[in-house]
């Protein structure tokens, strides 16, 4: 738990909207250690998704450095980044983003098509991933035949099937009812504690954040608070989280 896995150094991210320039992240520094489960919180528009995308290698900063493991991903070209993502990142989306014309099995198999694994090995990996998320009996179901919670669990199986270095999730429970959200959170917690996955999730949900080992709060692109969750008693936690709940636009 002591080795740094992600080092974000002085990153600046700007967006241009017409002639306007919007600085979303301004000289941000941030470190994540191996085996951490980080909840990224903050008001809407504070730059959470932007930061997550930068660490996942989906987007690139205007300046600064991002190291993940030994790789300086801020120096990789677009094509190199795609290849790097396939090996190191499992990404979970708020809207699941399963492919409707592929079965649960085929959706989970997709990332493995980028590996040198043969057909039978791929099958084994997919079966393991689906049984971890508790959906081994739904392999041949299409996404439309699954509930939202089941779809998100298939998406999690897709994210873990290549055994990536990092699991990233952007509001993974945002579209789910309370019960399904709970199941997904328990699953993420288990992936962290049992399978030692390093996880970063963006969330507005204090219940989700409570599962994490560390709570990081962003405000207008600046790190405001960075605390291990075990140090928070429930009253203080609710207070910290309530800020985000209020800030969430509906």
């Amino acid at each position: 738990m002591t080795n740094p896995l992600i080092i974000v150094e002085n990153i600046v991210k700007k967006y241009h909207r017409g002639a306007e320039e919007l600085t979303v992240l301004n000289s941000l520094n941030f470190t994540v250690y191996e085996g951490e489960f980080v909840a990224l919180m903050g008001p809407s528009g504070s730059g959470k998704t932007t930061l997550l995308n930068l660490i996942a290698g989906i987007d690139r900063p205007n300046s600064g450095y991002i190291f993940v493991g030994k790789d300086e991903i801020s120096a990789l070209s677009e094509d190199k980044l795609a290849e790097w993502r396939s090996r190191h990142i499992g990404f979970i989306f708020q809207t699941y983003n399963l492919i409707p014309v592929l079965t649960a099995f085929e959706n989970v198999e997709l990332p493995l098509l980028l590996t040198p694994l043969g057909k039978s090995e791929r099958r084994k990996h997919v079966e393991i991933a689906l049984s971890i998320v508790g959906l081994a009996d739904r392999m041949s179901h299409y996404p439309r035949q699954l509930s939202g919670g089941q779809e998100q669990r298939v998406a999690i199986a897709r994210a873990i099937v290549t055994d990536p270095t990092l699991l990233m999730a952007d509001e993974p429970t945002g579209d789910l009812d309370a019960k399904s959200a709970e199941e997904v959170l328990i699953l993420l917690e288990r992936l962290n504690s049992e399978f030692k996955k390093t996880i970063i999730i963006v969330t507005h949900d204090p219940k989700a954040a409570a599962r994490a080992s560390r709570l990081v709060r962003l405000e207008k692109g600046i790190l405001k608070e960075d605390i291990p969750t075990e140090s928070l008693d429930s009253a203080r936690f609710a207070e910290a989280a309530s800020v985000f709940v209020e800030a969430r636009p509906k």
């Binding site: 989906i58 094509d79 983003n97 492919i99």
Partner: protein, 391 residues
């Protein structure tokens, strides 16, 4: 490894109506193209199958066809003395002096058309091994009798066995029906050459057909003919002569390719429209695939493959429609005008495997044309923007 093919195929079947309409459009284009090409192929085949490489057709210098040529009676013995001509068992040279006349005859299904009447000598059938009398008997010289090819007898009035053909003041009795195995005489009526010259008051023959022993003697004969200043004649290898007549098929082929290309561009824009719609409804999916690590090239390939599958379905439908059209609607023999001799040429629409393959290739080009821009757009999807897009 690439994005699996089933992803594309299933997506095509999800959009049943758009896919169906696009496939139908491409199918119709391919079917029309196939029909025109099969017409051109049928025509070309008549001429291609015709003529031996050992026969030499002697014509007056610079005549395009037998109709324009003339060879006087006293030139014939000179021709026969030239070297290279094969001798019959009786020692006589294997050569036939012939007269070609155009008759304008009425068709059974209305209208009229020119038909070649060929005056032949008794050697003619020997020079044309495909010739076979299939009904009745050979004409008797001097009695105004004719034998008619089967396809002419089926398509022109008064040409059946036992009928009498009227043309101007002339009357010929049909005493036999023959078949020439798809070669040029299948569009002809034959009678004896002397009788025909008398009837039409022609002082000279149209051509002399000569059989040579082999390639060397053939070239020797042609050279000797060209080198004889008294004659002013030229010899053409019979096969080459008929190949040149194939120029009738060339404009049809050109026309076929021309409308094929025009219509294919139309169908290509249809396919492009369908593919643009496919890409824009799947933008988020594409972004997700990119996040998983699929390269831009993989996305590009995948959507081009999808367009090709779409077009291939159209191509297969087109082949099916083409086969049905040619077999059902255009089956049997048909005639058209040979633009060199203005005579009726009998041929059948021919849908060869090669033509069907051209149809499939055409459909794939339509797919490529329609797919390349949408696929490029898909490949350059902005991941971040697409992921923010709310469904």
């Amino acid at each position: 490894m690439a994005i699996p093919l089933k992803y594309n195929v299933r997506n095509l079947f999800v959009r049943k109506i758009t896919t169906g309409l696009t496939v139908l459009g491409i199918g119709l284009v391919v079917a029309v193209f196939l029909s025109v090409m099969s017409l051109s192929e049928g025509l070309a085949r008549v001429f291609k199958a015709s003529g031996s490489t050992r026969n030499v057709l002697v014509l007056r210098q610079n005549s395009q066809s037998e109709v324009q040529s003339g060879i006087s009676r006293n030139q014939v013995p000179l021709i026969l003395t030239l070297p290279g001509i094969e001798k019959n068992i009786d020692g006589n040279p294997l050569a036939s002096s012939e007269l070609v006349v155009m008759l304008n005859l009425k068709k059974i299904d209305g209208g009229a058309s020119n038909v070649t009447l060929r005056g032949i000598s008794e050697k003619s059938p020997l020079l044309r091994p495909q010739f076979k009398l299939i009904e009745g008997r050979m004409f008797s010289p001097g009695l105004s009798e004719v034998i008619v090819s089967r396809s002419i007898s089926e398509r022109f009035k008064n040409c059946r066995l036992g009928d009498t053909i009227h043309f101007g003041v002339y009357k010929w009795k049909v005493v036999g029906i023959f078949d020439a195995g798809g070669t040029a005489p299948d569009s002809e009526i034959w009678t004896d050459v002397e009788g025909a010259m008398n009837s039409f008051k022609r002082p000279s023959y149209s051509s002399v057909l000569v059989r040579t022993t082999d390639k060397a003697s053939r070239d020797q004969f042609i050279a000797a003919l060209a080198g004889d200043p008294r004659l002013a004649l030229e010899g053409k290898v019979e096969r080459v002569y008929y190949d040149e007549q194939t120029s009738t098929a060339a404009p049809i082929k050109f026309f076929g390719i021309f409308i094929g290309v025009i219509m294919a561009i139309g169908a290509g824009f249809g396919a492009m429209n369908t593919m643009y719609a496919a890409v824009s409804t799947r933008t988020k999916e594409i972004a997700m695939l990119r996040v998983l690590g699929f390269s831009r090239l993989a996305i590009l390939t995948s959507f081009i493959v999808e367009a090709l599958c779409l077009a291939l379905l159209g191509g297969l439908l087109g082949c099916l429609l083409g086969i049905l059209t040619v077999e059902l609607a255009l089956s049997g023999v048909t005639g058209t005008t040979n633009f060199t001799t203005f005579s009726e040429v009998v041929f059948a629409f021919r849908l060869t495997p090669k033509i069907l393959l051209t149809g499939i290739i055409l459909s794939l080009f339509i797919g490529l044309f329609g797919g390349i821009l949408p696929a490029t757009q898909a490949a350059f999807t902005k991941i971040i923007l697409a992921l923010r897009q709310i469904e």
